[in-house]
């Protein structure tokens, strides 16, 4: 649930942290705001 400066940084982070790529989603800013609205809209 973090920000990354680029797509490549995201990929590097997932590898370093040994995260399961199948269990998470890499989103750009447009997708991120949609996810944020879907989850936190009151």
């Amino acid at each position: 649930m973090n920000f990354f400066s680029s797509s490549a940084e995201f990929d590097q982070y997932v590898t370093q942290m040994e995260l399961d790529p199948e269990s998470l989603i890499k989103v750009d800013i447009d997708r991120a705001v949609l996810e944020a609205k879907a989850t936190f809209e009151v």
């Binding site: 649930m1 800013i29 991120a32 989850t39 936190f40």
Partner: protein
């Protein structure tokens, strides 16, 4: 599973949830379920039994996370503990959010324009996102990405931050 945090709870449960959220933002500290209880009871015209029942539901459904001393440290999307994700509301109030998506989601919880100042989790490079009228008005860097999880597959966001 319902992904929208607000829809997981009843109107009355959300009244207490939003009271605690605003308490943390206004006071700049955790809401203590015991020592700050009276303020909630008075503000919401709530008796102690209803308060305890609602607190149980909020905890059971991962609406908030408390410490051993009953401090509400996390209540979506607000964190009473310092994080890398600082949100400034249009009304001038400021707080930290648990995660990147939580920080952006504050615009939809408070129904206000927001500015998010954060850092890249890997490089530490500054990150900025401005949301106006529910849409991204500005952001940097332009190659910005975020990590999130498939909708509906996550019940406890705090455990994933």
């Amino acid at each position: 599973m319902e992904q929208n945090v607000h829809k997981k709870f009843t109107d009355r449960q959300n009244e207490l949830r939003l009271f605690v959220i605003n308490f943390i933002v206004d006071e700049g500290r955790s809401f203590n379920l015991e020592s700050d209880k009276e303020r909630a009871l008075k503000a919401l015209s709530m008796d102690e039994q209803e308060y305890e029942e609602i607190v149980s539901v909020l905890l059971e459904k991962d609406g908030m996370v408390i410490s051993d001393t009953k401090d509400v440290n996390f209540i979506y999307p607000v964190s009473a503990l310092a994080t890398n994700h600082r949100v400034t509301l249009a009304d001038g109030r400021s707080f930290t959010a648990m995660c990147a998506i939580d920080a952006m989601g504050a615009a939809f919880t408070f129904h206000q324009d927001t500015e998010v100042h954060s850092v890249s989790a890997l490089s530490g490079e500054p990150v900025f996102v401005k949301i106006v009228n529910g849409e991204v008005a500005d952001y940097s860097p332009k190659t910005l990405h975020a990590l999130t999880f498939p909708l509906g597959q996550l019940s406890n966001w705090a455990g994933s931050c």
